[in-house]
Symmetry: C2
Subunit: 327 residues, 2 copies
Amino acid sequence: MAQASLLYLSRDDVERAGPAMAEIIEAVEKGFFELGHGRVEMPPKPGIHPGQGGDNFIHAMPAYIPAMEAAGVKWVSGYPGNPARGLPYIGGLLILNDPETGLPLSVMDCTWITAKRTAAASAISARHLARPESATIGILACGVQGVSNLDAMSVLFPLKAVFAFDTRPEQARALAGHAEADLGLEATVVDDPRDAVAGCDIVVTSGPILKAPHETIRAGWMDPGAFASLVDFDSYWSRDALRQADKWTTDHAGQYAYYRDVAGYFRDCPPVDADLGELVAGRKPGRETPEQRTFAANLGLAMDDMAVAPLIYRRARAMGIGTELPV
Amino acid sequence: MAQASLLYLSRDDVERAGPAMAEIIEAVEKGFFELGHGRVEMPPKPGIHPGQGGDNFIHAMPAYIPAMEAAGVKWVSGYPGNPARGLPYIGGLLILNDPETGLPLSVMDCTWITAKRTAAASAISARHLARPESATIGILACGVQGVSNLDAMSVLFPLKAVFAFDTRPEQARALAGHAEADLGLEATVVDDPRDAVAGCDIVVTSGPILKAPHETIRAGWMDPGAFASLVDFDSYWSRDALRQADKWTTDHAGQYAYYRDVAGYFRDCPPVDADLGELVAGRKPGRETPEQRTFAANLGLAMDDMAVAPLIYRRARAMGIGTELPV
């Protein structure tokens, strides 16, 4: 038996081979089901921090999901100074391994997968925590994650209207255009962030993750019965607003404790009621009344990536996409 | 500024572009100098363990050496059952990043670098712990690491004779042939492992790493004044033989403590007198008398890999070796 060949997938290749959001959500949900049953190996993610600024990182995110025959690592960088140089903030590669032999099957750009799987996890949280009839959504910060979170929510909910806020109005207008043209939604660009929170069934805050939250959203803005996904951790939320939470969840209780107790995020946030694996595995209840204000503060897990990577690899193989590399 | 392109280097490419052992030793020694001064970022290496056997691993080994502008990760697998299937025991890829932007510069097969940098670290330990006039060397287990350790020692010491032992005699004969033809040494294949220890100035044990040591080497075999490099950790050595150590070193005291206290290797081994960074940085003394029996139990560090990877990358670029990938 010779060693399997190695398939390289560029950013374009991944986009072309990538499955639709519905399929991504299904794969990530399966991963959370396994995680909730304690059947995923996912060690803490170590990293290095080159440069002077202190905010640069390159993280290794390894995971193994036996039931999905998925094993590998994402090696992902975030350099806040890159966009000013015409380079992406997030970059990196994912290596997918054959769990049978340990050898690499594929190396792929990880930008697309990072955007999509984060949104899929938001939507899976919403499936358990938002009201099923949720029709209005507010997006605060309309970059890559704002758009992909809107896309993912539109797969699972009968959305009718989106309210888009961004400190750069052109970003909000771009998201609104996408929402109207591609999702058939009624889209409103709002100048006041409150208008993307009050009256919304689902709220997504998707700005940059900050150690010192700007706390734009105040107590009383969020409606009873609404759900919020905090892609930016707690950056957008005042502590008083967060104290109105009736249910506070994350995607991994252990890693959340690290972010809170060691890394210094989520100060004075509510205690964790459940993690997403527990919700998906049915071990803890999601929303319990139509009036609850519910929150998901997901961190992004190596498991998310590894649940999606085999789909991309298999589709690329079937479609003949990618560069075959000598091993 | 556009994103830099990405260079893929196969196993063959790395071998062709790889620098000579003398240059590898110099690079790894520079890395240890930086490590000894606390100027290397090297978090613990997490891993996943697919399969039923329990001995399979895939480890993420990230490191950043600012002074060498070297940042990246090695994602390396070890599957004991692979050779029986015609597949390599060790496999995997190394991603080298640009520390300025965080983006990947190169993806390269990590087999060659793993073999060479391990031997280079042995030789650097020997430079501080073996007698400079060391002329005889014993190799116990003559696989990839036996050969590369012999090569590395021959760069730094005036070797005249090698004694080769292996439970598979054809491996010992192959190493002996290489030693005579390529290194000009007098080579003897020995049937008794004692003959590859007694009378030798340098001893290298390079068999498989075992949690339950076979303890072949007994007390009294190793000469006073000799140095031993334990590439197989403590697998080859009886506890009585190890108690004759006058100096016991490793390449990283922190990671050694983890292997000993958590993973269960190095039971009843002597306390660590120094690590290799301390020796190279001149913070602790190496050999102090001609009579001391000295030991290096090196673990293999992500720093070793990252010190060598930029050399390979730069040489490959200069030689036009490798496959240019779209990002």
